[in-house]
Symmetry: D2
Subunit: 377 residues, 4 copies
């Protein structure tokens, strides 16, 4: 279904070439400041980047239809829509007969039948991630209010890898100015070159996004099934193009010895820390207090300018396929704010479930207490 979350719940709707895309966010504590400027800023990070992105121009102006009064959440579901301005669907008509390789056209038609909306990818489009980013702004604000900070950046694009440890500050500040959403200016420039080279060939390239979350309190995550890794993964795989996810040491752990992989506990002031963080901040599905670290692999964009082959479903024969429309040669940079938003949304839900957001009624009762004997009669 198109909803996710237990106490903080996101419901997505819309399609790439319909009237609009949007979402309903339920469970926002009343009084939470809803910062539309911050939302616009986060959405700007998701926009196509001049020179290396699709020429599709969407203003992505957020309209809030419900749930906010005077800039603050009212406690009822918050509804966001973003209108689709720039929809030329003509290029998509023949996809009903000739499905694009690497896209959901074929499976969507098979599952939903002829009425499914596949224009621009329909409900499978990367454009559906814009409302996730908008909801993520709210989630990040809620996390910040209890001291939790999140960040994400392009760690690899094609063969350009950034294996340095990056601070959250690097991520947040440099990536805003780096068109590749890198955490280092020079590496970001190399990444842009990689993308331009690939684009020149009419091809596309993938990459890896790293996401970090600091100051997460100990105890976030609900074993056995609603673990930190499990809940985050489910959310992350909703992002089109994701092929894998790993936490901490990840797949490298398969080659390590236990004596190396185990993070040794140590005392640091009044805190207990670990000397390494191969666990990625998670033990037994529960946050350990060390930074949460995860990496997400994004495949090369399925839509490429190069001539490809596919089949005509009507004629059941091989045909050539030249994809028109507007596409990014690399979606990794645009997926950076999406991954960050997705992680933040999941963390808010798990923090609420774990009782990490103090409720107003416990701390500061708003009104006098009702009570007294029953007088029903």
């Amino acid at each position: 279904m198109n909803s996710i979350g237990t106490l903080f719940r996101l419901t997505l709707f819309g399609s790439s070439h319909g009237t609009c895309i949007g979402c309903v966010v339920d469970g926002i504590p009343p009084g939470t400041v809803i910062d539309e400027a911050a939302m616009a800023q986060d959405l700007a990070l998701r926009k196509p980047i001049t020179g290396i992105g699709t020429p599709r121009k969407e203003d992505d102006v957020v309209e809030i239809l419900s749930g906010v009064v005077g800039g603050r959440a009212s406690g009822s579901p918050l509804t966001i829509i973003i209108r689709n301005a720039n929809t030329d669907s003509s290029a998509y008509e023949k996809l009903r007969d000739v499905p694009r390789p690497g896209h959901a056209d074929f499976t969507a038609l098979s599952k939903y039948g002829a009425d499914v909306d596949i224009r621009g990818g329909g409900q499978f489009s990367g454009r559906m991630t814009a409302p996730i980013v908008a909801a993520g702004t709210i989630a990040k604000k809620m996390l910040q209010d209890i001291g939790i900070k999140t960040g994400a950046y392009s760690q690899a694009i094609g063969s350009v890898l950034d294996w340095e440890e990056r601070t959250l500050d690097d991520m947040v500040h440099i990536r805003s100015v780096s068109p590749a959403r890198a955490a280092d200016v020079v590496i970001g420039e190399c990444m842009v070159e990689e993308i331009l080279a690939v684009a020149a060939e009419g091809d596309s390239v993938g990459g890896i996004i790293k996401c970090v979350c600091e100051n997460l309190p100990i105890g976030v995550g609900e074993p056995f099934f609603d673990t930190l890794e499990g809940e985050i993964s489910k959310m992350i795989f909703a992002i089109p193009g994701v092929k894998g996810i790993e936490f901490g040491s990840g797949f490298a752990a398969s080659l390590m010895r236990g004596s190396v992989h185990n993070d040794i506990f140590a005392v640091s002031g009044n805190d207990i820390v670990t000397e390494t963080n191969h666990a990625g901040g998670i033990l037994g599905g529960i946050s350990s207090g060390m930074p949460l670290e995860l990496r997400v692999c994004i495949k090369p964009t399925a839509s490429i300018r190069k001539m490809q082959h596919s089949v005509s479903l009507a004629e059941m024969k091989k045909v050539e396929l030249q994809i028109g429309g507007r596409h990014d040669p690399c979606i990794v940079p645009r997926a950076v704010p999406v991954v960050e938003a997705a992680v933040a949304i999941t963390l808010v839900d798990l923090c609420m479930r774990g009782g990490f957001f103090a409720t107003p009624r416990v701390n500061e009762p708003v009104t006098p207490r009702v009570g007294g004997p029953s007088r029903h009669g």
Copy 2:
């Protein structure tokens, strides 16, 4: 929480050193054959392997407490328990003060407080996966009934990698006799050597499990959030020790070009296939009809014989820690049937949600139809 699934729901209970471990499986169609011998066979694959496993001996005899009459599911929840026979908890007493590196002791104590049961890992123990295997036997039977086959094997243990394509037959037949649960006899022997070498040093080693599912019909998986990847990942990360998951090309996709990664559609008889399967059988979160392929990374066992360091929580100072108890130097082989079961359980739920199990009332009405005008008076 300890439940997962929408229409086919698994609820786990128990702890490593309590009375028993077990599960409730809800949603099994009445009449489904419950094969206790097959369950025992699957559980045998999860047992410690003589020579390379822990000396803890558990008979793992399944008792079915409810939901089965005459060898067939009755439609009410099926409850399984496996009693814990071999529980010497004395070694775990000091862990409340000195948490083991790489284990959930520290986070469990922080989240749940002093009353949490951490003997033998408590509810975080790998032993909790035995009921998953038992439930998986039921799920695999249900999948087989509609033609779907699943298999899993150790693809890598430490530095011993098996990069050949393996057929489901290889997986299922060879892994039963290979102590390493490999799909190739010779590679399996190398894996055992690797494990023995590591064990001799008092250390442990990780690895990678590959799981494949064939004949999955097109259309399994519910976008936007309840995708095939998302639902499987959430389930897989419940397995202790998992650090990452990838589908199809996985993390390798970050280095590929779109023109290479895109799987080209082709006609094969009356079917549409793809020439490659980098997608791992999934497009847009929905099964494409090509084999579902996924890889899971397992970290080296956290419990090692080697001397380690940790802290005393009471004294807030560094201490030495020598872990006793009984442990596997490599849990990868034992996790193979668990991964297979976890995938099968998730697939059954998604197949039910997608309407791929015909319900008896549609095909073969059991009793005459009740009807007639209202005669309430």
Copy 3:
């Protein structure tokens, strides 16, 4: 939370005096005809009735923002909004200090704090039921497509009771022209008189709505907890003003003997029927094939013109309260289409869960089958 349903899920948003009210409906099978004219007709039944209703005029024009292409559901979530045109909130300002008796002002302020939107009842307003009616039009269409018919009518308003058995035809046809939404013209006129008499005193009156559903197949409802009664009740109590619900014989059963209450099975043609229907069409939480019958009690409107007392929360003293704004002296007639919609929405979800909607892929495969051996590499 503001979502309900497992496979057919309704998410409500908006508030009485905000920008709009609306809902997201997830799980509509692609290809389902979305009849906006029928939606408008159902919404017209919920509008204030000239002469006996509030003078608040709302056009209640439905805008569909997503999920429909060419008049048919696309399989992605359907989003409906209804803009609030006629919102004079000035009368609601002092309610933050002086809560209205019988309203949610006091509990909403206590639970959500000062930021809650209580203008016009906010998210607790009866106006929130308009999107339920719109979603109900879709649900009723889906039920009709498999032969299930639903109807509801005012069975009692104040002391005017209609104890005759009414056919679904009576309900559907007469209630459209009866301002009281009665199933009998004369009784409807008496109800209107009752309402006018009460309104003349500045007071309000309650009543009872009966809902019937015919041709429900045997087997709808999921024991133990997701029973037909349980799921319907949960939904019905979301309607503001509901104080009770009963099925079949209902509370009268407390005075009956088992030999009278038991519905005797009988053969009728090829069907099995029962001679009476005290069970209201439900046995063991599952539909029996006899008509589903339920009754819902609605309290007298809380907002009355008469002078009342309340307290000033700021001064903690008794004060007089004269409620302005626009209100119905009886909401029973307007709640009739809401009850019908709520029941239909619940039935669709339970019918989907029970497999009573044939999925397109079972009956009419849309595209050729993908398949073939794995060629990953």
Copy 4:
């Protein structure tokens, strides 16, 4: 499905004549005292009452299989089983052909097919409520710990009605000694006489149970759908034999004027109370601080000694039916502790969702805080 609850979740299993009945309770805060003696006491209230109940003798000894260490909840799911000792299923064999009027035999066979277990009512049996009572003991303890008290009693059995206001003390103390579970000794004796008179005729009788909950804090209940009434109703209708539920004034509200029904707010010390409680302690689906009051109607027992008619499904003709087995002429007294348990379980879940149980980590951190910079490398 057989699970209910969001943060405090109950999963039922077993059947009347299987090995056992039982449940899994997930979400119990670690450290909660699990009082097996109190459980036994509550279960004793549900046992057949000598003289007026079925001669089926079940010891109903609770075995706790998991989730408790040293008398306290460990934070992992708590599993309870109650073995079925006294199961003579021979009387149930012919029910597969001749369904009993008023029972779920017919609908269960239609929905689940021939494999369903209908011995003794199978999973539809009133016996399934024993684990609910056991789970209710835990829920009531949790509520008591934050000052909330619950009680229930037989308010009516057949024509014997108790219309007095009863205090919680009356309910709890008198009902334990009253075989009818009445809140008044004399009325209880009249109820027993009513039951005996009906039993002498080989017939059965129904009744009404009232449940009250005091000191519920203001703010429990989650609009729009997860209201106090909605969540309680869904749970209550899982109890076999329930035909209706009403809150506060209930169905009587249909005959009242708004000026009478509205509960006027008043100041009482530092509290705000209402002068009457027609709302039953709920406004807008949220607790108001006044006592929660609800009434549940139970139908006369379907199993009666009197000769009845039914049909043979095999021969499709009318047949006579004499029901053997062991049955209560009135299940109202035995349902009293079940209603109380069901309400308590629902309230705990809603209190947890509303943040009314302070979590240990907020108030009293158990261990030092982990933290420090990322040292992944």
